[in-house]
């Protein structure tokens, strides 16, 4: 949507400027996809489950944000209240999604932990439909306008060739620190290392005294919180939400996770950026209607040469 919009605005500027503009749009959208992709990849890394409900947790996060904006009257609020309100969204919505994600795991996936892989997978699809119906009841079937709380004003100046607005700044300013913090957590902390250990060898991790249930719960909580943050950013950036947004965005995010190497955290980020760029350039140079096909052609092409994804399984395990 945004690329097409900007295509019209930038039609008269020179080709290179347009190229950089599309690159910027691609990276911004890609960062958003990456944030959702992280939730898929982290959960897969720990319990080898494609959590199909993850995209719908993201959708419900956006719906909660929409409801809260209405309740707080943020559209009419002054600048200070507005930023406090947005700050509050970034606390409450991730918290909600974290709790929701952990609850889904406890109630549905955990009883199936030792069942054949297909059982939790089918359950995840089921949960996805249930959450979609919750969304349908909550905000109806039609797409809804998400209040345009963040200015579109170009930070580079009114007449600058490239547009970089407060909205773009919001996306970059939120996603980059979140990803850095996540990397620091996983690499540097005791719990983060326990998480990686559990992902690599759950039995050995248990023998080290790591409580696998706890690690799994933390993973779902983090994945949910990331989806929650992404949903607020998405609403403020794209300004349209609907009960099916979890499905479409979830599909791209899941694809990003596979592209980067499922289970691999930097891979999910890289995959998100690649898909964001492919969509942006695709809709600019090939045509909006071809973007989805293009994204999957790229996915298949990359997987033919790197079956484990861009960053998947770099170290071979010795037996």
């Amino acid at each position: 949507m945004t690329p097409a919009l900007l295509l019209a605005q930038t039609a008269d500027i020179d080709a290179w400027q347009a190229f950089w503009q599309y690159a910027l749009i691609g990276l911004t959208n890609g960062a958003l996809i990456a944030l959702v992709a992280l939730g898929y990849t982290m959960v897969y890394g720990i319990i080898e489950l494609i959590n199909f409900a993850h995209g719908d947790v993201f959708m419900l996060g956006a719906f909660l944000a929409l409801t809260l904006i209405g309740a707080m009257g943020l559209e009419q609020a002054g600048a200070v209240q507005l930023w406090l309100g947005i700050g509050l969204l970034f606390v409450v919505v991730p918290l909600f999604c974290a709790v929701l994600n952990v609850t889904i795991d406890r109630a549905v996936y955990k009883p199936l932990r030792n069942a054949p892989k297909l059982a939790p997978l089918v359950s995840a699809i089921g949960v996805s439909f249930v959450l979609m119906n919750v969304g349908l009841l909550w905000h109806g079937a039609a797409d809804k306008h998400f209040p345009d709380l963040v200015s579109r004003q170009n930070l580079l100046g009114e007449n600058a060739a490239i547009e970089f607005s407060y909205k773009d700044l919001l996306v970059i300013g939120m996603t980059v620190p979140i990803m850095i913090a996540l990397t620091g957590f996983v690499k540097g902390t005791r719990l983060g290392k326990a998480m990686r250990a559990t992902a690599q060898d759950p039995v050995a991790a248990t023998l080290m005294g790591i409580n696998a249930d706890r690690v799994i719960a933390v993973t779902f909580a983090i994945g949910g919180a990331l989806a929650g943050a992404a949903s607020v950013i998405y609403g403020l950036y794209i300004n349209t939400v609907g009960y099916q947004m979890g499905f479409t965005n979830g599909l791209y995010a899941f694809t990003a996770a596979v592209l980067g190497g499922i289970g691999n955290i930097p891979g999910a980020v890289l995959g998100g950026l690649v898909i964001g760029l492919a969509r942006s350039f695709g809709s600019a140079y090939v045509g909006e209607r071809w973007t989805s096909a293009l994204v999957f052609v790229i996915l298949i092409a990359i997987l033919i040469f790197r079956p484990n994804g861009l960053l998947g399984a770099r170290t071979r395990e010795k037996v």
Binding site: A204, N211, T315
Partner: protein, 237 residues
């Protein structure tokens, strides 16, 4: 004083199949006990039951008199049982240092952990040169040393070792057995599962022989070494 580890009439299995058919075994404080037997006898299953990864169907497992068989594996580690599992199970994409840190996951005494880390490097100097290398890229022998060192990092009362010599060159096997002896001298009790039965029985104080889920013989290691049946079946005549 009760035995450090006391297994009584333990039954366990997978699905329909019972693989431990009522075994009893004990380890006294300060002992090295060898558990030997043919492939598929149930040795690994025995160690996995002690660690809480395989749930007993009946019978009991006690540590210093306290029942532990209903506890979760991560709690059992905190009670003082560390396990170097069959097949090493090194974390392949954690560094050597991180692998060792995971061994101390259940502990919070920083100074003690650092002390044990130095101690592990002293016992296996090769690991010290490899601290930043990914565990999965170590050689088989190095991985086995790491697996033993990692289990040591939990500062256990009882150390379970599942075939530490598997697939290793004779010199490295000697090295590992030397370390096992040293750890025992430092007061750690050890339950050692081994295919290299002769070496294991030479090192151990007592031994148990297991056949298809049952303990068929036990006694002082020297007696087992001298036993004609043991010689025929496990010591190559």
């Amino acid at each position: 004083m009760p035995p450090l580890l006391e297994i009584s009439d333990l039954r366990a299995g997978y699905g329909q199949i019972e693989v431990l058919k009522g075994i009893s075994l004990e380890v006294q404080p300060g002992e090295i006990v060898a558990l030997i037997g043919a492939n598929g006898a149930g040795k690994t299953s025995t160690l996995m039951s002690i660690s809480g990864c395989l749930r007993p169907r009946s019978g009991s497992i006690r540590l210093a008199g306290q029942e532990i068989h209903a506890r979760a594996p991560h709690e059992i580690v905190r009670l003082g049982i560390c396990h170097s599992p069959e097949g090493r199970k090194i974390f392949p994409r954690l560094t050597v240092l991180e692998n060792l840190q995971m061994g101390a996951f259940a502990r919070s005494d920083k100074a003690g952990i650092q002390q044990d880390l130095d101690h592990a490097f002293e016992m296996f100097p090769i690991l010290k040169q490899r601290t930043t290398q990914a565990g999965g890229t170590l050689s088989g022998g190095e991985q086995q040393m790491l697996a033993v060192a990692r289990a040591m990092m939990g500062r256990p009362k009882l150390l379970l070792l599942d075939e530490p010599s598997l697939g290793l060159a004779p010199l490295i096997v000697l090295k590992i057995f030397e370390v096992v002896k040293k750890l025992n001298d430092e007061g750690i009790s050890i339950l050692l599962v081994e295919q290299a039965a002769r070496m294991a029985l030479k090192l151990a104080h007592r031994g148990y022989v297991m056949e298809t889920g049952e303990i068929t013989m036990h006694g002082p290691a020297a007696n087992l070494l001298a036993d004609a049946r043991v010689q025929a079946a496990y010591l190559g005549g």
